[in-house]
């Protein structure tokens, strides 16, 4: 009976072809293989976010009632607090995994030909993920979300000419309010997913097309000495096990550190002294602050933005500087650039947290 059913489905859906592809697909196996799991982890956390996001949509109301609806989710809806905590922790863990994935592919030189578009689609995905985080952060409209968004939207406003237009467009007016929440909501659940999902599809298609890249240390070995394992079932079951562990970490964080909801936003109240963005914006936040201190006024803000964007621009264009294994000195320079970016990111993030005034 199962065989009959399989044959019936196979004739209509071409299951054998998929099975064949999965069995023949090989995954490199070497001492850096651990980095292959991080892309899958991003996908796992994203799937969790889609699921929990849909559940939150059942009770969340954007606009005027935003805060009350989140409070209702947190206190009255059965397991609403859990769904919300999982959603928020998933977002943070996805961004963390995405950063690890980005840096590991960078140092494994996975952006080299023919994988340039994998690098660029990845850059697009991580940028969209950060906008997801920024837009989602405001949705509960509590105290912290309100003031952090206010600071965040103030940053693009420093760009001459188009800056204020972008900020006003996002805010839906001169001040953050229910209209802003409505816009961020539209961005968060409609605009961003409709950009993110096709881009993710393209990214996954390219992974499938080019296979996993191997780091230079492995490429140096003769082909006969390189080890691979079948994608199915060997790599797939390992991936599944890693996802299970990730689910445990998620459950642990959501249970032990459930996501808090602060007091309702009040524009008339003074901003809390320790107001700051989410951790993944802390590095850029600090860089802007440093330039602001060096060059007081609009010049500092503009220079900070310019330097930061130049750094990102070079990062995105890295496949042009280091296109293949014959890149020589440029290949090494790009690696050093990577070390510099990691160092600056870590140092400025720690610096930003250390510079925050105490909450009490």
């Amino acid at each position: 009976m199962p065989e009959k059913l399989y044959n019936w489905l196979d004739e209509r859906l071409g299951l054998s072809a998929i099975k064949e592809l999965a069995t023949h697909k090989q995954v490199p196996d070497h001492k850096h293989s651990i980095w292959y799991y991080w892309g899958g982890l991003c996908l796992f956390f994203f799937s969790v976010m889609v699921l929990t996001g849909i559940l939150l949509l059942m009770y969340y109301t954007p606009g005027e009632g935003a805060y009350d609806s989140v409070r209702n989710i947190n206190t009255h809806v059965k397991f609403g607090w859990l769904i919300r905590s999982i959603h928020s922790w998933s977002a943070n863990l996805m961004l963390f995994s995405a950063f690890v994935h980005m840096f590991s592919t960078f140092f494994m030189k996975a952006y080299r030909a023919p994988r340039e578009f994998l690098w660029w689609t990845g850059m697009g995905l991580i940028s969209l993920a950060m906008v997801f985080g920024f837009s989602g952060y405001l949705l509960p409209l509590d105290d912290l979300a309100y003031f952090a968004t206010k600071v965040g939207l103030g940053i693009p406003a420093t760009v001459p000419v188009i800056g204020p237009i972008i900020s006003d467009l996002a805010r839906g007016g001169a001040e953050i309010g229910p209209i802003t929440v409505q816009r961020f909501f539209a961005l968060h659940v409609w605009v961003l997913p409709s950009l993110f999902i096709p881009l993710l599809g393209l990214h996954l298609y390219l992974v499938q097309k080019h296979g996993m890249s191997i780091p230079p240390s492995e490429q140096a070995k003769p082909v006969a000495q390189r080890k691979t394992i079948p994608f199915f079932p060997n790599f797939a079951v390992k991936d599944l096990a890693v996802w299970l562990i990730a689910a445990n970490v998620l459950a642990l964080l959501a249970c032990v550190f459930p996501w808090d909801l602060g007091p309702a936003a009040d524009a008339l109240k003074p901003a809390p002294a320790d107001i700051h963005p989410e951790w993944y914006f802390m590095s850029s936040f600090q860089i802007l602050k440093i330039f602001g201190n060096w060059f007081p006024g609009a010049l500092g803000e503009f220079l900070g933005l310019a330097v930061f964007n130049l750094g990102v621009f070079l990062w995105v264009l890295v496949p042009f500087f280091d296109p293949n294994t014959r890149s020589g000195a440029w290949g090494r320079r790009v690696t050093w650039y990577g070390y510099l970016v990691v160092l600056v990111t870590i140092v400025t993030t720690i610096w930003a947290y250390a510079a925050l005034p105490a909450a009490h």
Binding site: N234, L244, I245, A247
Partner: protein
């Protein structure tokens, strides 16, 4: 309190014990389970004539001897130091009650450590039969350490009939009653299952280092055999867990149930959170080992094994944390509170004063309690009665917990803790606050300064 006070900032003394204990539990339970694992593996290798297992088992027994003999023993002694410093009253109560139990435990330790070395150094030097005998002797000695310590650990939650003679000076006569308490056998079952699983975890760590390309056959057989050691726990844990649950005193069970009942609203207790994590992590270990180790033993790498260890650490740490929290607000249920105050002494301390009975906190500094300023007296009250569970700024931070409370709010909480009425919500997890009214007021004064800073200066 009759002992000096130990201040561990940020993490608090509880976590100081906790960190050492988590490492110790992961290794000491392996010392028991690993002993059984090694000798069973050797027996199997001899019976099935798997000569290729011998060099690996020999190397594994070296790893075992060093890990358990050095790190296990060091962290074990570390726990003694830590509990003696952080919870001297509790430690003293356990020593006085179980002095022979501890003596037997140390004998087992010595035998265990000697036999672990003997087992390793006699590979290929004595006959297979004699080597197996050494292995079985080790397994029995190490099991002996678990049999003893389990009685002392479970006693703290379910002291049972012993409570009737507690404080009479006759405690040691009721050794067996205290030792084989209601929780003894189910906890022994649970711990034995943990030992067997941890033998699986650590052996997987070791066997993951075998070269799957060169030694594919032997790696497959050893990794798969190690994976089977998770099966007893996977199936029997729920049975022993349920048995253990029904031995938990009703008050403590309520703490767990309260959490289950309110989980929907997110108000569930710490014990329930820990119970959830133990259940989830334990179930996941079984599945992860199946996926990683059983399905592709040749490719089972060190990183995979570390993830299994991580899950085991998560399950163990949450399990031990749950066991500790279940006992709240006691160290020994019904006898000694978690801040070192004996239940029987509460009325006396309230009448004669807390500071009058804490020579190390007050007289130890060359002062009499009456000469202390109000601030100093409050500080000593805080150190003696709060800091066994709370820190100023770190774990269970007083600043965070009392945030937004003014002088009156702080006085109200202290009043509730001091009165300790039967319907007080704090009774479920906090000990009573003892002392004369002026001492309680000194504590209020000190806390108000800590929380409200300059604003408090105007309040007497």
């Amino acid at each position: 309190m009759n002992y000096p006070f130990l201040d561990i900032p940020v993490i608090g003394s509880g976590w100081m014990i906790g960190i050492i204990a988590i490492i110790h539990v992961l290794i000491s339970h392996f010392a028991v389970g690993g002993g059984i694992f090694l000798v069973f593996a050797e027996h199997k290798a001899i019976q099935e004539d798997r000569r290729d297992w011998f060099p690996r088992l020999q190397a594994f027994s070296k790893f075992f001897m060093i890990l358990t003999g050095v790190y296990g023993a060091m962290t074990g002694v570390g726990i003694w130091f830590a509990i003696g410093l952080a919870n001297p009253e509790g430690t003293s109560a356990l020593i006085h009650n179980f002095v022979f139990g501890w003596a037997i435990e140390w004998v087992f330790f010595l035998v265990e450590l000697s036999l672990a070395s003997a087992y390793y150094y006699t590979w290929k030097r004595v006959s297979d039969k004699d080597h197996l005998r050494l292995g079985y002797a080790y397994a029995i000695a190490s099991l002996g350490t678990l049999v003893i310590i389990n009685g002392i650990l479970t006693f703290k939650l379910t002291p049972g009939a012993w409570l009737a003679i507690a404080g009479s000076g006759q405690e040691a006569h009721y050794f067996f009653s205290a030792f084989f308490n209601a929780g003894y056998f189910p906890a022994l079952g649970l711990r034995t299952l943990v030992c067997i699983s941890l033998a699986g975890v650590w052996s997987l760590i070791f066997f993951s280092r075998l070269d799957g390309e060169k030694d594919g056959v032997v790696k497959t057989s050893m990794v798969r055999w190690a994976a089977k050691w998770f099966l007893p726990a996977f199936f029997l844990m729920p049975v022993f867990g349920a048995w253990y649950y029904f031995t938990i005193p009703l008050d403590q069970r309520e703490l767990l149930l309260l959490g289950v009942g309110t989980a929907g609203q997110g108000l569930f207790t710490h014990v329930t959170r820990m119970a959830l994590i133990v259940t989830l992590a334990s179930a996941t270990i079984g599945v992860v080992v199946f996926l990683f180790a059983w399905m592709s033993p040749k490719n089972f790498g060190f990183g995979n094994a570390l993830l299994v260890l991580l899950l085991a650490a998560l399950a163990t740490a949450s399990g031990e944390s749950m066991r500790e929290y279940l006992r709240k607000p006691f160290i020994v249920k019904g006898y000694l509170y978690s801040n070192g105050t004996r239940v029987a002494d509460v009325a006396k301390r309230n009448q004669e004063g807390y500071l009058a009975h804490t020579p190390w906190l007050v007289k130890g500094f060359g002062q009499d309690s009456t000469t202390l300023s109000k601030f100093e007296a409050g500080k000593r009250m805080f150190q003696g009665q709060c800091m066994s569970c709370h820190t100023v700024d770190g774990y269970r931070s007083m600043r965070r917990l009392l945030k937004d409370r003014d002088n009156k709010g702080i006085a109200n909480i202290l009043g509730m803790l001091h009165d300790y009425k039967p319907d007080s919500p704090y009774r479920k997890f906090m000990p009573p606050l003892v002392g004369k009214p002026e001492e309680i007021d000194a504590l209020r004064f000190y806390l108000n300064h800590m929380i409200n800073g300059d604003k408090a200066a105007k309040v007497p």
